[in-house]
Amino acid sequence: MALTLPPDSRTPLSWPVRPGNGLRASHGIARTLRVLLALALALWLVLPLVPLALWAFADRWSFPAVLPQAWGWGGVRAALAQGAVPAFGRSLLLGLLVSAVATPLGVLAARALAYRRVPLAPAVNVLLFAPLALPAFVAALGLNVLLLRVQVPPFAGVVLLLTVYALPYTSYTMRVAYGAHDLAVEEEARLLGASAWQVMWRVQLPLLAPALARAAFLAFLVGWSDYVITVLVGGGTIVTVPLLVAAAAAGTGNDATVALLSAAALLPPLVLLLVLGLFGRRPRSHQTNGDVK
């Protein structure tokens, strides 16, 4: 029997959100002010990078010259001589390890908190966020003694402590994501024949991928940019980029080296951020052609 269906109304399932419409649109002077403010903010972020970039390749730049008087590779050579490459390697390893440990831990904590499987959930929440309130050097000094007593290798100790400092970021990011995650979709997948593992890999993971990428990025930043814990727990033996920058900055005549290292230190997070922006969005249902492949 042929059915007559009503015309395709194309009514979207969710309330249509048009950021530019109605009350949210700004006009006239408000629009001009908004654009000016955005430009000022962009300038504020970019401006400090300009002297860094100039200093990195300046062999001589004395006051009051506006631009360097001599260009060269002196800064690069000095940075390489001071061990910039292995320091970059260590920082990268530290960032990736912290991210690799703190992200799954944050996922577990967030899932448990979001679905109320935790007794005394508010207290656990406070505990998870405590590292943000505790100054890093206090924790590092206190725990350093303990780590030495139980003979934890310095690098493992640094990773351990930095993971604790990254946990608030990963657990909070994932908590927000789980708050918006619909468990009914997972139940639906189970009823369609998916095992618990298949639900995790084929439904939960793709839907939470953007939040996971954000959490991993934040945890990476904690490991990548740490100074205090690496110095105190590492005992000066683990030379990372922040340590190298600080040492160079403490000396005199190292302006080009400091600038080069600082500018180079921006690159890995920037690349990660770009990757996140390009691929870290919720995977959209891809448009295929009409043929069944």
């Binding site: 009503p6 979207p12 399932l13 969710s14 189970r190 295929t288």
Partner: protein, 375 residues
């Protein structure tokens, strides 16, 4: 024949809720039939569906599917699929891959699963919609994709949890027709939760009526309307006429006089409330034959009218079509066919009947429901 689904003594409580959500529910559903689980909100219908599907673990009782006890069997191994009020399509997959999901998780090659899915999309009249993202679908289209996705899992039992309640009336009617068509072509056993009597009657052969976690009655659609087993069941089915009286020798004696009861049932003697559907009472002109009554009120019900009449001091309601002019104070005659009559025990005097303990009694939750209906 082994029933498709059998529920035995199923009970379920949730922490923090006083009364059980399901209280000793027994239900047998024949293979390839369509049964509507009907009842007001909070009656336990959806919890029963979730317990049958394996999404909820019952406190007591068991669920048998095809004669096999489902205790410890995961939802993915029960041979069921569910369509809920929200389509719950996977937002990261396009329409075709949503429908192909069940095939791919079963290990079917993606190409074959997609070809199969395209067939099911055609079945729900969405051929060519496969490449679209699910966000581009209208509410009705999304629900049809959800049905196609469920059917593509080849379920022996299709569970529908108020799947059309978010759709407008016109679309709902179309979906009812679509469901009937799908039953003819695919023919799974269907269990559908709804709180809408008309929808239950439109799609199902049998209705299981729930209130306060208990199943009040499980019967054919016609008998659910014509032979409710209790006052509560009658009211939940929309019955509006209740006349107290006594049953003697197959007749009900009340202020309306002696009315012969249908001969296909043995009516136990004793006090009983006569029930007659408002749709079954015919209202004729005042000078015609039948029971004389005076119109006391009129209410418009869209294409029909609900007429309140006073017949020998008894308030009766009759649903009649538009046509003859009627006004309050008019004298009319009522004609009540014998086949439309039924008698239930008055819950206050039920204990006086032999075998009363076996008959469904009104529950505390049921009383609350009735009170809300009265208000």
């Amino acid at each position: 024949m082994i029933p498709a689904v059998r529920v035995e003594g199923l009970s379920k409580s949730f922490p923090g809720t006083g009364a059980p959500v399901l209280d000793d529910v027994n239900l047998t559903v024949e293979a390839r039939s369509c049964t509507a689980l009907l009842g007001p909100s909070g009656a336990g219908k959806s919890t029963l569906l979730r317990a049958i599907s394996g999404l909820e673990r019952p406190d007591a009782g068991r669920v048998l599917v095809g004669g096999q006890d489902m205790a410890g069997v995961g939802p993915e191994h029960r041979g069921m699929a569910m369509v809920q009020q929200r389509p719950l399509l996977f937002p990261h997959l396009n329409v075709l891959d949503n429908v192909a999901f069940a095939g791919t998780v079963r290990g079917v090659a993606k190409r074959a699963a997609r070809a199969d899915a395209a067939g099911f999309l055609e079945l729900v009249q969405l051929a060519g919609f496969g490449p679209r993202p699910v966000a581009a679908l209208s509410g009705g289209q999304a629900q049809r994709v959800a049905i196609a996705r469920a059917l593509a899992a080849r379920p022996a039992v299709l569970l529908l949890d108020e799947p059309f309640s978010a759709l407008d009336p016109e679309l709902r009617s179309v979906m009812h027709d679509l469901l009937a068509q799908l039953r003819r072509s695919v023919n799974p056993t269907v269990l559908m939760v709804t709180h809408d009597r008309s929808e239950a009657a439109a799609v199902a052969e049998k209705i299981a009526l729930f209130s306060g976690g208990r199943m009040l009655q499980h019967d054919s659609v016609e008998r659910m309307y014509s032979r409710p087993v209790s006052l509560e069941a009658s009211r939940l089915m929309g019955g509006a006429n209740e006349i107290p009286g006594t049953v003697r020798n197959g007749c009900h004696h009340s202020a309306l006089g002696a009315l012969r009861l249908p001969g296909d049932t043995t009516w136990p003697p004793g006090p009983g409330i006569l029930l007659v559907r408002q749709e079954s009472i015919e209202v004729g002109p005042g000078n015609g034959p039948g029971l004389h009554a005076t119109v006391s009120g009129l209410r418009v019900l869209g294409p029909r009218r609900l007429v309140s009449v006073d017949a020998a001091g008894v308030l009766l309601r009759a649903e009649i079509p538009w046509g003859r002019a009627l006004a309050a104070g008019d004298t009319v005659t009522l004609s009540i066919p014998t086949s439309a009559l039924a008698v239930v025990d008055d819950p206050d005097t039920a204990h006086t009947f032999p075998g009363a303990e076996k008959r469904p009694q009104i529950t505390v939750q049921g009383l609350a429901t009735l009170a809300s209906i009265d208000n």
